[in-house]
Each structure stands twice: as C-alpha cells, then as structure tokens.
C-alpha cells in the first residue's frame, strides 16, 4: 500500500499534463451521461414497484378510472359564485378544461347532471346552460340545488358559496413521463392566465395530483438554482480561509465541480430520473469532496512552505494522505450506498449518486488536483497555519480534564440516547413543499376554503355480479357513508348511494320523501340503467362502478392530516367496518395511504441499512487500524453522534418523517471520517513513533485537529445550506445531518482522547506498565 502510494505520487507529479488530460477525459466521459437526465414529475417515484399500497391503488384505478387530476379553483373577489358573470366564467372554464391534454372527465357546477321529474319523465341535464340568461330567481334556485347536493358541496362549491372549482380528471398514457404531466400543468396554467385576464373578478388556485407532480421538478429546480451556488460559495470561502491561497481554492473548485458533473452524468447513464431528494446530491458531493482536497492541499502547502520542492511536497502529501483519503471516501460511499435499503427509490438515487460523487472526488483529488495545483503559481511564504496554537492549547485542556470529560460526556450521551423513544413517526406530505412552491400556497388556500387534498378510496365489493343494486348492500354502503361523514377529518364523501337516492326522488315526481334508497333490487338496477343512459360524454359513472356492477368506489376527502392521524383514521374505518358492515370490509387505497405507510416501512428498512453500514464500516476500520480493539472503540464516536442527535430531536421536535429516516445510515459514513483521521495520526504516533498515549493524543490534535475542525465546519455549513431547501424532506435531513456532524466533532475531541488514554493498556493488548515497550516493537 505504502509502496503503491509512493509510486502514485511520483507518477502524478511527473506526468502532470497527461494526468490532467486523462482525468478530464474520465470526467467528460462520465458527465456526458448528463444528456439523459430529466426531472421526474410523478409522485409515484417515491414508491417501489412492489409497494403493497401502490399496487392496491393501481389495481383500484384499473378497476375504475384513474384519479390523477387538476382542481381548478376560482374565488370571486366579490365572494359570490352564483352571479351571471361567475357562472358564465365557469361555463367558459369547463369548455376549456375539456381541451386539457389527456383529460377524460371534467366536473363543474355547469355540467353537473341534475335530475328532475317532468311529468312522468326523468330529465337529466346540465345544472345550467346559458348563464347570461339566468334571472335572480334562477340563480337562487341553482345555488340552493348546488349547496344542498352532497356530490357538489365541499368539492366543487364551498358551503358559503364563495369558492368554486372545476375538477379535471386526466389519464396520462405513461408513454413519455417527462412531458405528459408538464403538458397538462402548462395547459391549466395558461387557462389560469386567461381566466385572470378575462375575468378580473376571479382569483385562480391550482391544486390536485398533477400540480403536486409538477411541484417536484419545481422544488428540484429551485434547490438547484439556489442551494448549489450558495453551498459552493460558502465552501470555497472556507477553503480559501483555511488554505490562504487562490491556487488551492481554484484546484478545489475544479475538483468538486468535476466530481459533481461526473456523478450526475453517471446518474444519467444509469437512467436515474431526478427527484428533489436526489437533487441534494450535488450539494452533498461538493461538501464532502472538499475534505479530500483540504487534507491533500494543506499537507502539500505545509511541506512546500517547509522548504520542499512543489512536486516533491505534493508526492509526499499524496503518500501521507493516500490511505486516510481512500478510507474516508470508501466509508462515506458505504454509508450512502446503505440508502439502497430504503423503501423509497429517490433515496436509492440520492445514496448512489452521492457515493459515486464521493469516489470521483477521491479519484480527482488524487490525480487532477495535485497535477493542476503544482502547475499553478503558489506563494512559498511561510505561514503559521490558522488555529494551530489554539488547537494545541485545546489538546492540553482535554488531556488535563480527561477524568472529568469522560463521565460528563458519557452521561450526556446516555441522557440523550434515552430520549430517542420520544420521537414518533410523523409526516404531512402536502407540506413536503414549503411556501416558496406555488403548489403549497395554492393547496393551503383550497384546503382552508373549499375541500381537501387528501383522499381515501374504498372499493366496496357486493360479492356478486350486479350486486350493487342489492338493497342490503346499498344499505350497508349508506351506513358506511354516513359514518364517514360523521368523522371530524372527513370533508366530503363521493358515493353511489347519493345517486340512487337522487334518481329515486326524481322518479317519484321530485318528492323529497322519496330521497332514499330504492328498496327492490330490479328497481334499483333499472333506475341506474335509465340514469346511466341519460348521461353525456365524460360524465358517466364508470369512475364509481366497475364493469360488472359488483363494486362501487367510495371516495372520502380528508383534511390535511399527519401520517399518524391518517393511520389512526384508516384503522378506525377498518374497525368500524369489521364491527358494522363486515360484508363490505376492505382496505382503503390512495396516495394518502401510500405516503402514510411509507414512513414506517422506510424506518424499518433503514434500520437494516444502518446496521449494514455499521457492520461494513466497522469491519473496514478494524482491518485498516489493524486492531480489533481499536476498531471496537471507534464504535463509540461513530454511533454516538447520530444517537445523540435523534435524542435531541426527540426533546425538541419529536416528529420523524421520511427524510429523517435515512439520516443515521447516511451520517455514519461521514462522521467516521473524523475518527479515521484522528486515529490514523494517533496510531502513527503511538505505534511508529513510540509516543505515550497522552503525547500521541497531543500529536493527533496538532496534526489533524485544525483540519478536522475546518472540514466539520465546512460539512455543517454545506448541510445547513441543504436545510434551507424548499423540499421539507431535504431541509429536515440537512439540518439533522449538520447537527450530527457537529456532535461528531465534539465526541471526537472531548471523549475519544479520554477513552484512548484510559483504555490504552487494553487497546494495546498489554498491561499498562509494559505498554510503551511493546508499542515500539509492534509492527505498524
């Protein structure tokens, strides 16, 4: 290893131009995959193909029709929907909505199929046609029908008649995912512009699944244009301050940019579709890549300013850093690769892209960086490295206070760890996007003023062909509907029983006392046939009834709930069904259900991922440190930071969402880097130079203390930038990772030295008094 490192350093510093050309060639080859990259715009990417709740929802949609929709919400400034002007606008919007790409259905106040008795006939027709001819009496009558119709109220019209909506159902063919959803979004946004221009009295808000889909690339783009430049600026400033020179900063800049481009290019080659979580990879890569550069450059400058030649100094720096830089890169990559255990594919992508980026950073910092900076001019003026005196004093303090620090730190760790159970799984998936994303603010308005964004569909099986007309079945469906409507979380229920009741009433001369379910099966089936025959294109019941008329879909719209409350509601509905309508018992399906379950599934699967990372990294450390006992000791500074951070989170916030579930595995590979650098210097002193434990600690502080502190600050800064993401999953993850990294440096600086000194004899495998001698004899 050592021989190889020496040869490497010599070759690179002697063939600088060739090295640069080869590295650029590699970077370009990898980066050219970038042409295949595109942003995903389908919320389903958060679920793997075999996610049981996704499969259940797909099956339900295959049985009826798709639920993907745009809710086009209009709010008249005069707060009156039932005026000639606003109703005329709704007519106009309805007609234009039909031109939405991939639309299969449009529901509005205008085309609501109102039923009326006329003599002995059943008239099924639009609620109104020509709005401009409506008299005040007509308007009052239409308002009365609309806000008393369970199908419409809280869905397409608010109870106070101030806000209305047009719901556009689309069926995306799924042939070109990159363009289909954006086409729909573009169309409805053009419609919004048109409406706001043509009808100045109307404000428009857009929500629905399609708009949510669209928010994913928008959040990614926001992060890309805001977070990456910010992180780059901050990191380069820190590098500049640390290295006190432009050459090193430029070299670092080029290295991290190439690492990002190459990693993203590889993502393109691998066919990864970009999601907001994956889009935090560039920021993560640039943050992590910096550490390699800083270690190599600071050693190089140290030797160069100490009087060595440029190339000679670099060869020496490469020799010293070869193992630790490789090790830290490998462990970081392992930590990220453990994200493949996650149940949500975007985190696989995040892990794999970051892991590739880290390995590219390792390659480029061992090739391009040394070749490039040694070609550039650099000042050889001697400078005392920033902070060295401080760190030496700090080392003295730590050694002096070690008998106090060990119990204090241990108690702190234990006290925080016992707080971990205070965390509970909770997430609000509409709030994945913060207020900088239009979807969020529009959805908040709609949820406050009209209807909900959450829904659960239940496909209720009558058990036999045509069974939906069975009065017993209908009575049970009705009971379940009524139960749903009583629940405080439920805003709206769309159910076939309302249709049966309405038709029955109209078949009896619009007599309100007949607003009830038909009591004979044949009668119900024939009423339904008559009603279905009377419906126009796109307003059929195929979205509520399966082709065999054996099942109906009940759709409950809910207010915005946390996952805990959603799961509680879901369970309550199952319990109620088992108790009261056992024949109908079924599980609900919807994106709401999917997102509510994935958090828990992900935490369980990430426990496995974290365990994998821990075992893999520990084995690597034991091997690298050449000692089982040292390897085991490093478990403490490696595991404690994440455990403490989650304990602290339990005290402060206590809600763990999808984004936080990957933090432990991800940070493990990062925090271990501090331990590796500190331990490798400590062991070099303890074993090779035969220093005592106390002196070895002092040596370790003196050689890598400042660099560790600087890289930790840089990492923290980088992840704090991610914590400003417009995508809450990233923001929470970034914040907690930053916190873990800070805790890690505290544990490494305050506890690890005390442990190394206290357990020196055990670690060295000898009684305390002979430790020194044997350490000299011990092979490195």
């Amino acid at each position: 290893m050592e021989q190889f490192a020496i040869k490497w350093g010599k070759w690179v510093t002697q063939h600088r131009v060739l090295t640069i050309i080869l590295s650029l060639g590699l970077a370009m080859a990898a980066a050219s995959g970038g042409q295949f990259l595109s942003f995903t715009n389908d919320y389903r990417v958060f679920f793997s193909g075999d996610d049981p709740h996704l499969l259940a929802f797909e099956n339900l949609q295959d049985t009826y029709t798709k639920n993907d929709n745009v809710l086009f919400v209009i709010a008249p400034k005069d707060k009156k929907v039932f005026t000639q002007d606003t109703l005329a606008a709704i007519s106009d919007i309805t007609d234009r909505a039909w031109e939405t790409p991939y639309s299969i259905r449009v529901d509005s106040l205008r085309n609501y199929q109102h039923t009326e008795a006329e003599g002995d006939d059943l008239i099924v027709a639009d609620l109104y046609e020509d709005a401009t001819s409506l008299t005040n009496t007509d308007l009052a009558r239409i308002q009365d029908i609309a806000i008393n119709e369970p199908f419409l109220v809280h869905r397409l019209i608010s109870e106070d008649a101030r806000v209305a909506a047009v719901n556009i159902t689309v069926e995306l063919p799924g042939e070109n995912e990159a363009t289909e959803s954006p086409e729909v979004a573009q169309h409805v946004r053009n419609m919004r512009d048109y409406v706001e221009q043509t009808y100045p009295n109307l404000d428009v808000y857009l929500t629905g699944i399609i708009m949510m889909n669209q928010a994913f690339p928008e959040a990614s783009l926001y992060d890309m244009t805001h977070l990456i430049p910010a992180a780059l600026g901050i990191i380069l400033l820190l590098v500049f301050l640390q290295l006190r020179g432009l050459t090193g900063t430029v070299g670092t800049f080029i290295t991290i940019i190439l690492s990002i481009l190459a990693a993203m290019g590889m993502a393109g080659w691998a066919g990864i579709r970009l999601t907001p979580p994956a889009m935090s990879a560039p920021t993560i890569i640039l943050t992590l890549a910096v550490a390699d550069c800083v270690h190599i450059l600071s050693n190089w400058l140290q030797k160069y300013r100490g009087g060595m030649g440029k190339q000679e100094a670099m060869a020496e720096s490469l020799r010293i850093n070869f193992s630790p830089v490789f090790l830290t890169s490998a462990t970081t990559a392992i930590g990220f690769m453990s994200l493949n255990f996650s149940d949500a594919p975007p985190f696989h992508d995040l892990g794999n892209i970051s892991a590739m980026g880290v390995m590219f950073a390792w390659i480029f910092s061992m090739t391009l960086l040394p070749a490039l900076v040694t070609l550039l001019p650099v000042s050889s003026k001697k400078r005392r490295a920033y902070g060295t005196e401080v760190i030496d004093k700090f080392a003295d303090w730590v050694i002096r206070k070690r008998r106090m620090l060990m119990p204090v730190m241990s108690v702190t760790i234990v006290a925080l760890v016992v707080m971990i159970p205070r965390n509970e799984l909770n997430d609000v998936f509409v709030n994945y996007f913060d207020e900088r994303i239009e979807f969020r603010t529009d959805t908040d308005y709609v949820v406050d003023n009209l209807t909900g964004m959450y829904f659960i569909d239940y496909s209720l099986d009558a058990g036999e062909s045509g069974g939906i007309s069975n009065p017993d079945y209908l009575a049970q469906v009705h009971e379940f509907t009524e139960w749903l409507r009583e629940q405080p979380e439920v805003i709206h229920v769309n159910t076939l029983t309302d249709v049966f009741k309405r038709v029955n009433k109209s078949m009896h001369g619009d007599d309100q006392s007949w607003y009830k379910l038909p009591d004979q099966r044949e009668m119900a089936a024939q009423y339904l046939l008559l009603y279905e025959m009377s419906l126009p294109y796109g307003l059929d019941l195929n979205n509520q009834i399966d082709i065999d008329k054996q099942r109906t879909r009940i759709s409950a719209t809910l207010e915005t709930l946390s996952t805990t409350n959603t799961l509680a509601f879901e369970q309550r509905s199952y319990d109620w069904m088992k108790q009261n309508t056992p024949d109908l018992y079924t599980t609900g399906a919807s994106p709401t259900i999917m997102f509510s379950h994935i958090g828990m599934r992900n935490i369980i699967s990430m426990l496995g991922g974290t365990a994998f990372a821990l075992v893999a990294i520990s084995l690597l450390l034991i091997f690298a440190l050449g000692s089982l006992r040292f390897g085991l000791l490093t478990l403490i500074p490696n595991v404690a930071p994440a455990a403490m951070a989650f304990g602290m989170w339990g005290l402060v916030d206590g809600e763990i969402g999808l984004g936080l579930s990957v933090v432990a595995a991800m940070t493990l590979g990062i925090v271990v880097d501090d331990t590796i650098h500190f331990m490798s210097k400590y062991l070099r002193a303890r074993r090779d130079q035969g220093l005592e434990a106390i002196e070895a600690v002092r040596y370790a502080f003196s050689t890598v203390g400042v660099a560790l502190w600087t890289t930790s600050v840089a990492l923290t800064a980088g992840f704090l930038v991610i914590s400003t993401s417009s995508f809450t999953l990233n923001a929470e993850m970034g914040f907690l990772v930053a916190f873990v990294i800070m805790l890690a440096i505290f544990v490494d600086f305050l506890l690890l030295p005390a442990l190394l000194i206290r357990f020196d004899s055990w670690l060295m495998g000898k009684p305390a008094d002979t430790a020194e001698e044997s350490a000299i004899a011990q092979p490195a």
Binding site: N59, Q61, D62, T63, T65, K66, W98, E99, T100, P101, Y102, S103, I104, D120, D121, L122, I123, V124, A125, E171, P173, S465, G466, S469, M507, Q520, R521, E522, M523, A524, A525, Q526, Y527, L529, L530, E532, M533, S534, L535, P536, Y537, G538, L539, D540, L541, N542, I545, D546, I547, D548, K549
Partner: protein, 263 residues
C-alpha cells in the same frame, strides 16, 4: 327519398370520369363515397339480431350483457330500433325504443319492468356510454348521411381490404367527438375501421369490424365489433348473431305500446 338517392348515386357514378376532369374536391369525394355506402345498405326494410356485449377493464376483468335488437328501416329519416335487454338479470325485460333522426336529437324511451312504466330518456345526451360499455349511443345509432360533413383523405390497404379513408365531422349537437376517421372498403363499401377523436382532438377510441357475412339481398353485416378506448385502456366487444331479414315486423312493432309487450 330512396328513389332520389338511387338516381343521385347513378348520376354520380355515371359522371365519375367527367368528375376527374373537373377536379372533384375531397369534400365532394367523401360525400360521394358515403352516399354510395348508404345506397348499398338501403332497402333491407327490417332486421332482427342478437347481440352479446363483452366489457373489459384495464385490470383484465370481463362482464357480459345480452340484447335482442329489432330494426326498421325508415325512408327519409333515421331508423327505428327496439332493444330488449336479457342480461344482466337485474335489467331483464327492460326495453329501449329509439327513433333516430338526422340532425335532430333522437327520441328514446325505456320500459322499466320493475315499475311497469315507460320513461322518456333526456335525448340530448347521446354521447354517454351505452350500458357502461365503450360504445356511445351515437356509435350504435343509425348512420344517416346528413349527420356528418365528409372529407376524402386517401386510399390505402386496411387488413385484407383496399379502403377509402374518410373524415367525418359530426353536424348534430352534443356529440362527444370532434371528428371520426372511417376506413370503408372499396369493394363493398363496408365500415372496416373507425377512429373517434375527442373534444381536444385526441384519439379516443378505435372501432374495428370483422367477420362480414353477406345476407340475402346483398346486405353485409359484421359478426364482431371491437371498440378499444385508448385513453382508459378499457374495451368492449360486440358479438352479433342470428341476423334475420325475414321476420314479421312493421311500424306497429315500434311504438311505446310495443315496448311493454316485448318479452
């Protein structure tokens, strides 16, 4: 009317070579072909048939319906149709009477045996699905020439046939379609395939007709209609059998009273 059509067609066919010289427009050619097709399918007077409908959803589930049809050819107006439902069982005995018209909305009545009453169906909505299938009323009702504006597009092979390809734009109100593209075989002027385009001018459905048999009098009828909805992935097959042109039917078999008598 019938006589007029015959004369008109004869003149058109006789004038064909001249037509080429005076450069017939695609619209004229489209209309000419449609008139010829209508002409060839005129004079059958009345027919009965049995139809089985097989509905399929995207999940691959199937559901069946059975209907007996009786049709009366009406000169100068759309045909009259009486459909009697046998399956599903819940609607057995339900019967539907349709007087189709050209541009005017059709008249439709439904007899519901459970309440022993005849109900008129709001007639404007003929674009909705027929019994939950992928067929709309307007796809199944009689195809009068004046219902569409035509445009000849091209000639091309369609399966085993050589076809005219004609665009049809509905002229009646409340159609679900902006246009249809029909493939009509050049030999016998039969519909081989029809594509339906929705309000945003996107391909919605394709109808394919197959198993044509020639019945006495030279009338061609297909055994199988296959309608595929490209947007929802659902499809419906119609299987026709027992075409009969000899049955004893007249005007009196097609009125509201006849609805109740049907069994």
């Amino acid at each position: 009317m019938q006589t007029f059509k015959t004369v008109f067609i004869t003149v058109l066919i006789a004038a064909t070579p001249v037509d080429f010289l005076i450069a017939q427009t695609p619209e004229e050619r489209g209309l000419e072909i449609s008139l010829a097709a209508d002409q060839r399918d005129s004079g059958w007077k009345h027919q009965t048939s049995e139809m089985e409908m097989i509905l399929r959803n995207r999940a691959g589930k199937e559901s069946r319906r059975k209907i007996t049809n009786r049709q009366l050819e009406v000169n100068g107006d759309g045909d009259k149709t009486l459909s009697l439902f046998h399956e599903p069982k819940d609607v057995e005995g339900t019967a539907m009477l349709t007087f189709s018209h050209g541009l005017e909305p059709d008249d439709q009545w439904l007899y519901l045996p459970s309440i022993k009453r005849v109900k008129r169906i709001s007639s404007k909505n003929k674009s909705g699905p027929f019994m939950g299938s992928e067929f709309a009323f307007e796809d199944l009702s009689s195809q009068e020439v004046e219902k569409y504006k035509y445009k000849f597009l091209r000639e091309e092979a369609c399966g085993e046939f050589e076809c005219f390809v004609i665009e049809r734009i509905p002229q009646y109100e409340n159609s679900g379609y902006t246009k249809q593209i029909a493939w009509i075989d050049k030999a016998e002027y039969r519909n081989i395939k029809v594509e339906y385009y929705d309000r945003k001018d996107a391909l919605l459905k394709t109808l394919e007709l197959s198993g044509y048999n020639e019945y006495s009098g030279g009338f061609w009828r297909a055994d199988q209609f296959e309608m595929t909805n490209h947007q929802t992935g659902k499809s419906t097959t119609l299987l026709w059998q027992k075409y009969d042109f000899e049955s004893d039917l007249d005007e009196n078999s097609f009125n509201q009273n006849a609805l109740k008598r049907l069994r």
